[in-house]
C-alpha cells in the first residue's frame, strides 16, 4: 500500500521500498536491543522514529546506515542487502561537536566528504561554497568548529552530509542539544533542503512535536526489546509552518495520540 502522504512536495513514487527492514533482530552482549522489526521506507519519504530513551531508535538508525549488522533478519537498501556503510547514505549525528574534525575548518570538514567521494581537488572549492551557502554558513568557511555555535556546527555537519549527495539522510536526534529557537529554524531548513534534494529521510527524535511537524509518517518504538508499537501517517499539509501547522487540530490530535503511546510504553 502506498502511504497517503501525497499532498506535499515529497510525493511518493509508488514501488518498492528504498530502505527495507525485514524481521530485523539485534542482540548486543546477549541482550535483545531490537526484536523483529519490519519496516519499509519509500523513496523520498520523511520517516520519524520516536520512543522512550533506551528503546533502540538510535540502534535502528545505525542498522539502516550499515554501521551495525542485524543478528537475524535483513536490512536492504534499493533492494540490496546492506553489508557495510554506503556513501549515498549520509548520517547526521546528534553530537556534532564529536562528529566534526576539530583540526579542519568548516570548508575542510565539508571537503572530507568530497575527498571520500573522489571529487577532483579543482572542483571542491566551488562545491564547498555551494554547500556552505545552502546551509546558511557562506561566510564561515575559514572558521574552525570550536569557533562556531552549536547550531552552526550542526549546519556544518548537515553540509558535509549533503556533500555525499545522499539518496538517504539518516538523522539521529540532530537538534536534541540545541535551544528551542535554533531548533525550529533548523527544522524548517531541513524540510526545505530535503524537498530540494528529494532524499529519503529517517529522523530519530524524542520530541513528539518535532516528529509530527517534520514527518510523512511517525513510528513509535516500545522498549525492552525495541519493537514497533505504533505507526501514524501524518497528512498535515505542506509546506508546514511553525505556527499554523502546530495549531492545526489534527496536529494536536496526533500529538495526543503519541503522548499517550509514550506514557503507556513507559508504564
Amino acid at each position: 500500500m502506498i502511504a497517503a502522504v501525497n499532498q506535499g512536495a515529497n510525493s511518493l513514487r509508488p514501488g518498492r521500498a528504498q530502505i527495507a527492514f525485514s524481521g530485523v533482530t539485534l542482540d548486543l552482549g546477549g541482550k535483545a536491543i531490537l526484536e523483529n522489526i519490519s519496516l519499509d521506507v519509500k523513496p523520498g519519504e520523511f520517516l520519524c522514529i520516536i520512543g522512550a530513551s533506551g528503546c533502540g531508535k538510535t540502534t535502528a538508525l545505525r542498522l539502516a546506515a550499515g554501521l551495525y549488522q542485524p543478528t537475524s533478519g535483513t536490512v536492504a537498501f534499493d533492494g540490496k542487502p546492506m553489508l557495510a556503510p554506503r556513501r549515498d547514505i549520509a548520517i547526521v549525528f546528534q553530537d556534532y561537536g564529536k562528529a566534526l574534525l576539530p583540526w579542519r575548518t568548516a570548508a575542510g570538514n565539508v571537503s572530507l566528504a568530497l575527498e571520500a567521494s573522489g571529487v577532483a581537488a579543482s572542483q571542491r572549492a566551488v562545491r564547498i561554497d555551494e554547500l556552505l551557502k545552502k546551509v546558511g554558513l557562506p561566510n564561515h568557511a575559514e572558521k574552525y568548529p570550536a569557533e562556531m555555535s552549536g547550531g552552526m556546527q550542526q549546519r556544518l555537519q548537515i553540509a558535509r552530509c549533503l556533500a555525499q549527495e545522499p539518496k538517504a539522510l539518516l538523522m539521529d536526534e540532530p537538534f536534541g542539544a540545541l535551544d528551542a529557537m535554533t531548533r525550529q529554524g533548523l527544522q524548517d531548513e531541513v524540510l526545505s533542503l530535503v524537498r530540494a534534494s528529494d532524499a529519503t529521510v529517517v529522523f530519530v527524535t524524542h520530541d513528539l512535536e518535532e516528529a509530527i511537524y517534520l514527518g510523512d509518517r511517525v513510528i513509535g518504538l516500545l522498549p525492552h526489546p525495541g519493537r514497533i508499537g505504533i505507526e501514524l501517517k501524518i497528512d498535515l499539509p505542506r509546506p508546514r509552518d511553525q505556527l499554523t501547522t502546530r495549531e492545526n487540530p489534527e496536529f494536536l490530535a496526533l500529538r495526543r495520540e503519541l503522548f499517550d503511546f509514550i506514557k503507556a510504553s513507559e508504564a
Binding site: A90, G97, K98, L101, P102, W103, A116
Partner: protein
C-alpha cells in the same frame, strides 16, 4: 614578560656569584670543582679549538638519528596496535617483556655486533625511543573519539585515508608530546653511551676532560649539555603550541 624572565635568572646568577667568590676566597684546588669564571673560559676555549662543535655534532647526529629510527618504528607499531586490538593482545606480552630492559644494558651486545661508533650508539638510542612513542601513540590512537571513526566508516574512507586524514591528525597532539619526551630520552641515552664506552661526542669529551684532570672543561661540557637539552625542549614546546594549539585545546575540552 621580560621582568619575569629576569627574575627567574636572578637566583642562578646569585648562586654563580657566590660560588665564584667562595672559590677565590679558599683558593680552590680541586679535581672535581672549578670556579664559574674558569668554566666559562674552558667553554670559550673548547668552542675556539673546534672540539666542542665536533663533539656536539657527533652527539646530536646519534641522538637525532636514533630518535628518527626509534620514533618511526614506535609510531608505526603504535598506530597498528591502536587500530587493531587483536594485534595489540598478541604483542602485549612480548612488548611488556622487552620494554623494561634498560637500553644501556644492550651496550655489550650492541658493541659486539656493531663495534664502536655511530651505528652502535644510534641503535641503542633508537631502542630507548621506541617505547615511549609506541606506548603513547597506541594510547592516543585508542583514545580517538569513536564518533570520528564512525564518520570515516560512513564516508567509506580507504584504510590509508582513514589513517592519514582521521587517525594521525586526531592523535597528533599526543604523538608530538611523546616525541618531545623521546627527544629528551635520546639525548640522555646518547651521552650515557658515550660516557660508558663510545669514544665520540659530548659524553666522551667529558671523560677525556676528567682523565686530563680538567674539572673546568668537564663542567663546561656539562653546562653545554644542559643548555642543549633545555633549548631542545623549549624549541619543541614552542613548536607544539604553534602547531597544535587549537587541536590540543579542543581535545582537552571534549
Amino acid at each position: 614578560m621580560i621582568p619575569e624572565r629576569i627574575k627567574a635568572l636572578l637566583l642562578p646568577i646569585a648562586i654563580l656569584a657566590i660560588l665564584e667568590i667562595w672559590a677565590r676566597a679558599v683558593h680552590l684546588q680541586s679535581d672535581s670543582l672549578a670556579p664559574p669564571s674558569a668554566i666559562a673560559a674552558a667553554l670559550v676555549e673548547a668552542f675556539q679549538d673546534g672540539s666542542m662543535l665536533i663533539a656536539t655534532r657527533d652527539t646530536l647526529i646519534s641522538a637525532f638519528a636514533g630518535l628518527s629510527i626509534g620514533g618511526a618504528v614506535g609510531l608505526a607499531c603504535g598506530i597498528a596496535l591502536g587500530i587493531f586490538p587483536i594485534f595489540d593482545r598478541l604483542m602485549e606480552v612480548t612488548i611488556e617483556a622487552i620494554r623494561p630492559i634498560p637500553s644501556i644494558a644492550l651496550l655489550p651486545i650492541a658493541l659486539i655486533a656493531l663495534g664502536f661508533g655511530y651505528r652502535m650508539e644510534i641503535t641503542i638510542v633508537a631502542f630507548a625511543c621506541v617505547w615511549p612513542i609506541l606506548i603513547l601513540t597506541r594510547a592516543a590512537v585508542g583514545g580517538i573519539e569513536p564518533r570520528l571513526i564512525e564518520v570515516s566508516r560512513a564516508l567509506r574512507l580507504s584504510p590509508a585515508d582513514r589513517v592519514r586524514k582521521i587517525i594521525i591528525p586526531a592523535a597528533l597532539p599526543r604523538i608530538f608530546l611523546a616525541f618531545r619526551l623521546a627527544a629528551g630520552i635520546a639525548l640522555i641515552v646518547a651521552v650515557t653511551v658515550e660516557i660508558a664506552i663510545n669514544p665520540i661526542g659530548l659524553g666522551a669529551a667529558i671523560m677525556t676532560a676528567q682523565q686530563a684532570l680538567r674539572p673546568d672543561l668537564m663542567l663546561a661540557y656539562l653546562f653545554w649539555i644542559g643548555l642543549i637539552g633545555y633549548l631542545l625542549n623549549t624549541g619543541l614546546m614552542v613548536a607544539q603550541r604553534h602547531l597544535f594549539g587549537r587541536a590540543a585545546l579542543v581535545g582537552d575540552s571534549a
